[in-house]
């Protein structure tokens, strides 16, 4: 660790215990601010079967407490959030239970009474879908209506308050008169945060407030959240699937699975000693990037279908520690080790020894499921491969015409690197760093303004920058893309069979029968077996991880030598990311394919890549062996990216 790195790390670790002790002090002498009992939310659509998305959830949230809520997508986190805000849309409704806020049940309160409490007591920041502000109103007006509705402030006093709120989230007050589209994503989310705090609420619900933002921007917003929470003492329920961030910020953590809370635990305890196997599985998706060998676990399978009755523990089918009792008795959320957990095994393991049945698994802190392992030896082997892609001082200048003037933007500035067979090179950078433009030039979509790209494939060496339409099509057999969002990169109207056989017939010229057979093999390669069960399905019948595997299978169909993967795991749940990484890793080693891995996240780059190129404003600021770059970053920008990676484990060791 360099000196600057050490100081920043020290600064963060120093501030954390203060916030946590502060919260702990308030907790001891206060009654629950929010008291939720047996809360169930049911969706009863007319056309499809009813389901209970939130099932008998009970918890307390204390005044000034910062609680994180984690779980896979579809676990009911957001539905719970909407229920707490009384904003459920039909066909969803609260079917059971109570939500007491400061002693009053808001679930049974009239809409009008509730309306007067909104934003004064309970405020929220929604998912950073960039769409929470009314596009046709100036920002100040959107603060004004909320302030005037719930307070005595009028006229200039409101403007003064808005100015104060803007400075609180460190946004220049000149943006008060801006329209939402004139703000960047990060600014919008800061303003949303300020808006949530405009009436000094006692409870703020943060529903994935930074998803979709750049890591560095994410970090700055979360730091603002933490600082303001400390200063103003409001309680927070922080929902996110980014487990690292949640762990780092929260006092306590709720883990949710299939509509139920399965564990409630202090954050520091959960990091060291997770009780529920599901919590272990989620935590296993984090690993210390500085270690020689990185290991991340993943949870195979999918959450249960909530439209059908489930007997026993809902996680049993995916649980490596399941015992007989788990498939028949439903576990209750009972106190254990200072927290609460709904797991037979955890209770038995820590219970008196005479109760222990035979075959009870050993007590562990790691998820005993499949894992993805990347060792330093893997990378060493990869570096001995044969170079097949050479990018030499490539520059791309975009010209934009504004009236009569021409504006030039330097998107990629003199980038050179080489890619070997069986090697993964990561292009890391924030949005706008030129990483996507570089990938577009390598795939032949854009032409470089200067510099050369040499590709050596089965048909000899090709100068990619000189290819014309016809040759480009041939070149693309060798180069395939895997995109970020597996939900939109598969045509929803086509079966997987069609999706897979099309490139086989186009690129390899196979007959229909041959293509069908190869499609089956491809499905086996990406571990969607038995292939016949999957080939006639449509994309919507698959989970996100399965879809991304289909996308990879499609990329493999053309027998490529190079795969360009643009953020292939960022839209996937942490629990299945490792599964896709594992698959990519197998392809690299087993098929001698080179992979160009594009990401904004150094951590995921470290997991898969052998070499890392850090790009900033079109230039390569750092380049080298992945482990070296992570352990010993030379450039200030690389360090900024590294600092943005949450590291709950490191923190747990320093605070304990």
């Amino acid at each position: 660790m360099t000196t600057t790195d050490a100081t920043t790390a020290a600064a963060t670790t120093e501030s954390v215990p203060t916030s946590q002790t502060l919260a702990a002090d308030t907790r001891r002498n206060s009654h629950p601010l929010l008291r939720v009992r047996d809360l169930s939310v049911r969706f009863e659509p007319k056309m499809s079967p009813a389901l209970t998305a939130v099932d008998k959830v009970s918890f307390d949230l204390l005044e000034g407490e910062f609680v994180g809520l984690i779980g896979e997508s579809g676990s009911g986190k957001s539905t719970l959030a909407m229920a707490l805000l009384s904003l459920l849309e039909r066909p969803g409704r609260i079917s059971n239970g109570s939500i007491e806020f400061d002693g009053e049940d808001i679930a049974s309160m009239s809409q009008e009474d509730l309306r007067h409490r909104r934003w004064r007591d309970i405020a929220t920041v929604f998912q950073s879908s960039m769409n929470s502000l009314n596009p046709v109103m100036r920002v100040e007006a959107q603060f004004r209506d909320a302030i005037e509705e719930h307070s005595e402030l009028r006229g200039d006093a409101v403007t003064e308050r808005v100015r104060e709120l803007f400075s609180m989230v460190m946004i220049d007050e000149k943006f008060m008169s801006a329209y939402p589209h004139e703000l960047s994503g990060g600014m919008k989310q800061r303003i949303n945060l300020a808006l949530a705090l405009c009436n000094r609420p006692r409870f703020v619900l943060l529903d994935e407030p930074t998803t979709g933002l750049d890591v560095v921007v994410q970090r700055s917003i979360l730091e603002a959240v933490r600082r303001l929470q400390k200063e103003q003492g409001f309680a927070v329920l922080f929902i996110s699937h980014d487990i690292g961030t949640v762990m780092e910020l929260s006092d306590r953590i709720f883990v949710m699975y299939a509509g139920q809370l399965v564990e409630q635990q202090a954050a520091t305890t959960l990091v060291k000693d997770p009780l529920h196997p599901y919590s272990k599985g989620l935590l296993g998706s984090y690993s210390n990037p500085r270690a020689d060998t990185v290991r991340v676990t993943y949870i195979p399978g999918r959450p249960p279908d909530l439209t059908r009755p489930i007997s026993g523990c809902r996680f049993a089918a995916r649980c490596p520690e399941a015992i007989e009792r788990c498939s028949s008795d439903e576990p209750q959320l009972l106190p254990l080790a200072g927290g609460r957990v709904a797991c037979h095994v955890a209770h038995l393991q820590r219970g008196p020894s005479e109760d222990k049945p035979d075959g009870l698994p050993e007590q562990t802190t790691r998820f005993a499921g499949p894992e993805f392992v990347k060792t330093a030896e893997d990378s060493d082997r990869a570096r001995r491969g044969e170079v097949f892609l050479e990018v030499d001082s490539v520059t791309k200048v975009f010209e934009r015409r504004r009236g009569l003037r021409k504006q030039q933007t330097l998107a990629v500035d003199d980038v050179s690197f080489a890619l070997r067979k069986g090697e993964v090179t990561a292009l890391v950078g924030q949005s706008g760093s030129g990483k996507t433009t570089l990938a577009r030039m390598i795939t032949g979509v854009d032409k470089p303004s200067s510099g050369t790209i040499r590709f050596t494939g089965s048909e000899g060496t090709i100068a990619v920058e000189k290819l014309r339409t016809r040759q480009l099509r041939d070149y693309r057999k060798h180069v395939q893309m895997v995109f970020q969002d597996p939900y939109s990169s598969l045509n929803p109207a086509l079966t997987l069979r069609y999706t897979l056989t099309r490139p086989l017939r186009n690129h390899r010229g196979l007959s229909a029968q041959e293509a069908d057979a190869v499609a089956g093999e491809l499905m086996e390669t990406v571990a969607l077996t038995p292939s016949n069960r999957f080939l006639d399905r449509y994309p919507h019948e698959l989970s996100g991880g399965q879809r991304q595997r289909v996308v990879i299978a499609r990329a493999l169909a053309a027998n490529p030598e190079l795969i360009v993967a643009d953020e292939p795991i960022s839209s996937l749940d942490v629990s299945i990311r490792a599964e896709v990484l594992e698959l990519l890793q197998e392809l690299v080693t087993g098929h001698d394919i080179g992979v160009l891995y594009i990401t904004h996240d150094l951590l995921s780059a470290r997991l898969l890549a052998d070499e890392i190129l850090v790009l900033s404003q079109g230039r390569v600021v750092e380049q080298g062996n992945a482990l070296e770059v992570i352990r010993n970053p030379q450039d200030a920008y690389t360090r900024t990216l590294l600092d943005a990676i949450p590291n709950p484990f490191e923190q747990a060791t320093t605070t304990s």
């Binding site: 309306r115 909104r118 929220t124 929470s132 009314n134 596009p135 046709v136 209506d145 329209y179």
Partner: protein, 329 residues
Amino acid sequence: MRYFVRKIAFFLATLWAAITLNFIIPRLQPGDPAEVMVQKLAGKDAQLNPAAVQAMRAMLGAPDGNLFTQYVSYLGALAHGDFGISYTYYPYPVTEVIGQALPWTLVLVGVTQILAFVIGITLGAYAAWRRNTRFDSIVTLGSTFIGTLPSFWIALLLLFVFGYTVGWFPTSGGYSASTPGFNGPFITEAVSHSFLPALSLLITAPIGWILGMRNTMVMNLGEDYIRLAKAKGLPDRVVALRYAARNALLPSVTGFAIALGGVLGGSILVEQIYDYPGMGRLMGEAIGNRDFPLLQTLLLFIIVGVLLANLVADLLYGVLDPRARRAQS
């Protein structure tokens, strides 16, 4: 500011193109209009009398000089409001004929269009706000059904029932015995004469606005900013109007401005059914009588009307939607 300048420049360019096309197209037609006229008057097989043709030319005002001088004098004539003489209403100038018809149409079609828009937007917004209720189903299904009926058929039906069978309203014309002007009897007559045509138009005209507004607003209600507005505890009225309807209205504004531009053309079928003295009936006559000067001027009027309306729509859109200003400037 740039946005507005661009829009106005675009309007002027299109206007010039339209005026020029209006000049060129008749000159591309084969034959001499004077000869055609004389032939028509004399009968199909009659020998053309050169003197008659000459006289006709003098009467219609035959063009002389090369194409460019013609074009300059055409623009000059336009600038002075000289559009030629109508064949049908000879010897009245076209401008006077149109001047007679214009107020009738402006009042009848203009008022019904504005009413239709207001009714349509209100019903649509309310149906969307109470979506999936009985009110919504009645409005949506009802307007889909009525939308399938042609307005001239409704006009005939109303004319039959209220004009002839019951006899509550006059069946034709814009007024009967009174002197046109700002006086009591005339206004009463004008209103009673225009009631049935207006009603015929009003039954179908709001349907497009209802369905359009409802669908856009239902989509808007799913947006995050609506959810946030509700979470802010704003009253329903504010959420519905300032957040949902304000955004949903945007696409309809352009449509409305263009519809207003079309008002100048009147409503040909309905005006003919009620023999209403407006632009629509005039257009029907001009077509029937091959009255080229009149027809050409009417078309120019409609073009200018639609262009102006488009300009207004663009300018208004720029005011209503801040995103449009930046995206195009």
